[in-house]
């Protein structure tokens, strides 16, 4: 009966369907980066990398890596015709001013009111928030790519985040390995479920408030 859940590539593929022609998009590190591989035909988007680039291109061919040309994940990349470099102040200026249409990022936890936590595990991890707090504070449209549960099988879609917050009431959508969830006033609303995943499983694995859309449907690939 199909898959039991989406793999990372499929999560990225599903998120890519949210891209609209003409969008400026910031893709975070991890699964979000994979979204660039699934941009639909005929949809032209411009990728913003918050270290100072609009118009991020693919990875370079071997031997053509340039240490002066990296993305926010510190990966070697390339430019495209029409790319532009700028400094970090302007980069976050355009983010804060709402010029970036869509931000995709990972999360450790999300809450049913739109809160997100993805930068700190007290006493364990002290890497820092990087640009995530700026992005979630300012972007109009924030999609979270994440696993629905942690390794212990506990829900990461919560009534309230337990970890220190990255941003409050900011995320608009979650795409997990189990389905797609809009963040609404009534909490998470399941609008699609992964092939082979049941609504019952989603209900069981979602700790936050959850509603099921009337027209909920199975995701197709």
């Amino acid at each position: 009966m199909g898959y039991m859940a989406l793999n990372k590539e499929q999560i990225a593929q599903r998120i890519a369907r949210e891209l609209k022609d003409g969008y400026y998009v910031n893709l975070g590190i991890g699964i979000p980066t994979l979204v660039a591989n699934y941009i639909p035909e005929g949809v032209n988007v411009i990728l913003q990398s918050e270290n100072g680039l609009l118009g991020m291109g693919p990875f370079p061919f071997e031997g053509e890596e340039d240490p002066d040309l990296i993305n926010a994940g510190k990966q070697t990349i390339t430019t495209l015709p029409g790319s532009v470099f700028f400094d970090s102040a302007m980069s976050f200026g355009m983010i804060r001013a709402g010029k970036v249409d869509l931000t995709v990022l990972g999360a450790m936890e999300v809450a049913d009111n739109g809160d997100i936590a993805n930068w700190k595990i007290p006493g364990k991890m002290v890497k820092g928030m990087g640009g995530a707090m700026d992005l979630v504070a300012a972007a109009k449209n924030i999609i979270v790519a994440m696993q629905h549960t942690n390794r212990a099988g506990e829900s990461k879609l919560l009534p309230e985040c337990t970890l220190p917050l990255t941003g409050v009431r900011c995320i608009t959508k979650v795409v997990s390995d189990l389905g797609v969830f809009d963040v609404t006033e009534d909490g998470f609303r399941c609008i699609e479920y992964a092939p082979g995943v049941t609504i019952e499983e989603i209900k069981a694995k979602t700790a936050g408030r959850l509603t099921i859309a009337d027209d909920v449907k199975e995701m197709t690939f």
């Binding site: 002066d68 070697t76 470099f85 400094d87 102040a89 976050f92 002290v126 504070a137 990255t166 409050v168």
Partner: protein, 236 residues
């Protein structure tokens, strides 16, 4: 007017222990490698370093951490650095984690003579603790103060005797704002040119902000994440 000094050691000669430094770069991209090496040689310590990242274990600011020269880091992201984490968890090192855009803008504010600005990032999070929150047009913002650094140390691609600088690609990052923000600004460049060689329309940092400049040497420009794609097979 000649701002040229011989080398990194001369450029940093009056940096003293206990001072606050801004250091340009994002990850290991666009970092002032020569000046960092000179700071390690000079052995100043108790430094407060404002820099987006803290280098890796054996490169960038990581070299200063190894020598325990840093008292406090003000950064947005300090992963990729085990020694950093060790010193932090052991209490040897203080760290002030600042959202990346806020970090950039607090540098910019200093360079633009703005003592404080209101910014969105971190509202409702622990970053907001102790900070003034103020509502404008229905949205809450945090009051964020300009940084105050004794020296800013930046790395540029080309520069001239008057201190005019241009940066290459994403090696620009924090360098221009920090160049504007230092009480004294030191620029190391890959290529030192004569005034008139840089097109006046395309200078990123006007020389008025730069006090000392020198042509660096032996740039390693280490890559943190070498990512490539396969070449299409030839003649396939």
């Amino acid at each position: 007017m000649n701002k040229v000094v011989a080398n990194a050691d001369e450029a940093i000669k009056d940096i003293e222990s206990g001072m606050t430094l801004m250091l340009g770069g994002f990850g290991l991209c666009g970092i002032p490698e020569n000046c960092i090496a000179a700071l390690v040689r000079k052995g100043v310590n108790n430094l407060t370093c404002i820099s987006n990242n803290a280098g890796v274990d054996d490169f960038g600011i990581g070299l200063m951490l190894q020598q325990k020269q840093v008292k406090k880091m003000i950064s947005s992201y300090v992963g990729e650095n085990a020694e950093f984490e060790r010193q932090l968890l052991s209490g040897e090192l203080e760290v002030d984690l600042v959202p990346q855009g806020t970090l950039a803008t607090r540098c910019m504010a200093a360079g633009y003579g703005m003592p404080a600005v209101y910014l969105l990032a971190g509202v409702g999070t622990e970053v907001a603790e102790g900070k003034e929150v103020r509502n404008f047009n229905g949205k809450d913002y945090l009051l964020e103060e300009a940084f105050d650094a004794d020296f800013a140390i930046v790395k540029a691609w080309k520069g001239d005797r008057l201190g005019n600088l241009i940066y290459k690609d994403t090696a620009r990052n924090f360098n221009p704002m920090m160049a504007m923000a230092g009480k004294i600004t030191i620029a190391e460049v890959e290529e030192l040119v004569e005034p008139g060689e840089l097109d006046p329309n395309y200078v990123h940092t006007p020389g008025i902000y730069v006090h000392r400049i020198f042509q660096g040497s032996n740039y390693e420009k280490r890559i943190e994440q070498r990512t490539v794609r396969p070449r299409t097979p030839k003649g396939a």
